[in-house]
């Protein structure tokens, strides 16, 4: 008994963290969500969430998040796969991750310059004869930059999953006469599904709540739930409504985590 107690004693800092910084903030957000803009206790925020404006916003957030996740996955999987085959694969992996360490705002400003009417991208389009196009403040630029941001986060777990794959399994499949495609579909992909799931997790949920890019790159033509939260907390000071949206976002987050539950399977 005594040993068990001391054995558990060392866990206190971690549990303290969970209570103070995980459970505490969630409860606070929940608490705030029940207050309307004038500080009265009410359910108006929840009523408001189910009006067409917010439902439309929720729907379009999910749609863009889905689009971004799907494209990111389509690009990242082959990259991760190819990376595992390079010589200094850990170094290459690090080099993929490095751009994500540069301040997001700075990269957004660079994209403003690149995609602008007189920017590098348009000069390129002119040279190859397509001519000037509006790139900035379109759905395309928004999805492009978002995908750009999430690629490293998607590659990392997939790379790890592929890296742990036992080559013998693939050899076995090949020996048994499976085509490359069959090997991929039946052996490689199922065995790396956990990596894909956690990659989608770390892409989809933040994509739901992107906020800086919706203004800088999409010129507020795309409004996500994250934009609305930021506006309510920082601009309109309607913390109640902001918290209400946050509550729904947290619920969505839990649902997605349950759906893509990554259980370690013995391979």
């Amino acid at each position: 008994m005594d040993r068990k107690l001391t054995g558990n004693l060392f866990k206190i800092p971690y549990y303290l963290w969970i209570i103070l910084f995980v459970v505490g903030p969630i409860l606070l957000v929940l608490y705030y969500s029940f207050f309307d803009i004038e500080g009265h206790f009410s359910l108006t925020n929840y009523q408001k969430f189910f009006t067409p404006v917010y439902l439309k916003m929720t729907f379009s957030s999910f749609w863009y998040a889905f689009l971004i996740t799907a494209i990111t996955l389509l690009i990242s999987y082959p990259v991760a796969y190819l990376l595992t085959k390079t010589k200094h694969k850990q170094l290459w992996l690090l080099l993929i991750i490095v751009p994500s360490w540069i301040n997001l705002l700075l990269k957004a400003y660079a994209f403003l310059g690149i995609f602008g009417t007189y920017g590098a991208a348009n000069s390129f389009l002119k040279i190859i004869g397509i001519g000037q196009k509006q790139i900035l403040f379109t759905d395309f630029s928004f999805v492009f930059v978002s995908v750009y941001i999430f690629i490293p986060f998607m590659i990392l777990p997939i790379f790890n999953a592929l890296d742990e794959l036992n080559p013998a399994l693939i050899d076995a499949a090949n020996d048994l006469g499976a085509s490359k495609w069959t090997t991929f579909r039946r052996v490689i992909f199922p065995l790396t599904i956990d990596g894909v799931k956690s990659g989608c997790q770390v892409t989809f949920i933040p994509a739901l709540s992107l906020f800086m890019l919706t203004r800088l790159i999409a010129g507020n033509r795309v409004i996500t739930l994250g934009t609305a939260i930021e506006q309510h907390f920082l601009v309109t000071q309607d913390w109640g409504m902001g918290s209400t949206i946050a509550v729904f976002l947290i619920i969505a987050m839990f649902l997605i985590m349950v759906m893509t539950n990554t259980r370690k399977r013995g391979v």
């Binding site: 040993r3 054995g7 866990k11 800092p13 971690y14 963290w17 910084f21 995980v22 459970v23 505490g24 903030p25 606070l28 957000v29 705030y32 082959p78 990259v79 190819l82 990376l83 085959k85 390079t86 850990q90 080099l95 490095v98 751009p99 360490w101 540069i102 301040n103 997001l104 705002l105 700075l106 990269k107 400003y109 660079a110 994209f111 310059g113 690149i114 602008g116 007189y118 750009y148 690629i151 790890n160 693939i170 050899d171 770390v202 949920i205 933040p206 709540s209 994250g226 939260i229 907390f233 913390w239 902001g242 918290s243 946050a246 976002l249 947290i250 839990f254 985590m257 539950n261 370690k264």
Partner: protein, 268 residues
């Protein structure tokens, strides 16, 4: 597995790398522009760098950022190891899942929510905004990252290793310091560096909880950028990029060394 990569695949990788680095090189390139904007390159100059180095306030901010990153990485690594062990040692599957879910909440929460809720928290607790509030929140959001980096290492450690140590008469402390920690140390280092970079890069959370003259780089970049872009920001980002690259090289060599010095349990 075949080790060869087809030329087509090489091209694909090259394009990806090009796109990933394009905005960064774009920023760095214009940091040498003697003009005022990121549109026309007028001539080469180092003036923006000179401007940066003449700025004591900025130096203080850089040091602030570094010290917050180092300290929060340090503390979050220690608590993160504890957390990973707590999850690892949880007997019931349900407890394990709950803990893991709790752990992941902060990773997947949008920065805005984290920042706003921490702000409410600090106000409620009466903590003065400034260095400590920033440090505390950085430690808080770095912990789950460390846990996630350490946990897989613990999971892949075979239980027989611990049993063997026990059979040889090792006590709890010995098992911990002589068997478990050395085994998971690559995970610990990875966690430390991940925490370092998360802290270094954080903007939204710091923005909410800072005050009293305490500022970090990303917050400063934000307010610089709002004033209208000045190319000294580009110079700053070029230096940051250089710094990150150095960090990467150091990290890579530490990991490489570890692999050589390590018990050689993992074969690559």
């Amino acid at each position: 597995m075949e080790r060869r990569i087809s030329p087509f695949s090489k091209l694909f990788l090259a394009i990806i790398f090009f796109v990933l680095y394009a905005p960064i090189f774009f920023l760095v390139f214009y940091s040498f522009n003697s003009g005022e904007t990121m549109y026309n390159f007028e001539g080469f100059t180092l003036d923006w760098y000179r401007e940066l180095f003449g700025d004591t306030r900025l130096l203080i901010i850089v040091l602030n950022t570094v010290v917050v990153a180092l300290l929060s990485a340090l503390f979050s690594t220690i608590i993160g190891i504890i957390g990973a062990l707590a999850i690892y040692m949880a007997k019931r599957k349900q407890t394990k899942h709950t803990l893991l879910a709790m752990n992941n909440v902060l990773i997947v929460s949008p920065d805005v929510i984290i920042g706003a809720s921490f702000l409410i928290l600090f106000t409620t607790a009466g903590i003065k905004l400034g260095f400590y509030s920033v440090l505390l929140s950085h430690i808080a959001f770095c912990i789950p990252i460390v846990v996630l980096m350490v946990l897989p290492k613990l999971m892949e450690m075979s239980p027989s290793l611990i049993d063997a140590a026990r059979d040889l008469g090792a006590n709890h402390w010995d098992v911990m310091t002589k068997v478990i920690i050395p085994y998971i140390s690559p995970g610990i280092l990875a966690g430390f560096f991940m925490a370092l970079t998360y802290s270094f890069d954080d903007f939204a959370v710091t923005f909410f909880v800072t005050g009293n003259g305490f500022s970090t780089l990303s917050v400063e970049i934000y307010s610089l950028a709002r004033r209208g872009i000045s190319l000294s920001i580009n110079a700053l980002s070029a230096l940051l990029f250089l710094f990150t690259m150095i960090l990467v090289v150091i990290y890579y060599f530490i990991v490489q060394n570890n692999k050589v010095n390590g018990a050689g349990v993992r074969k690559r």
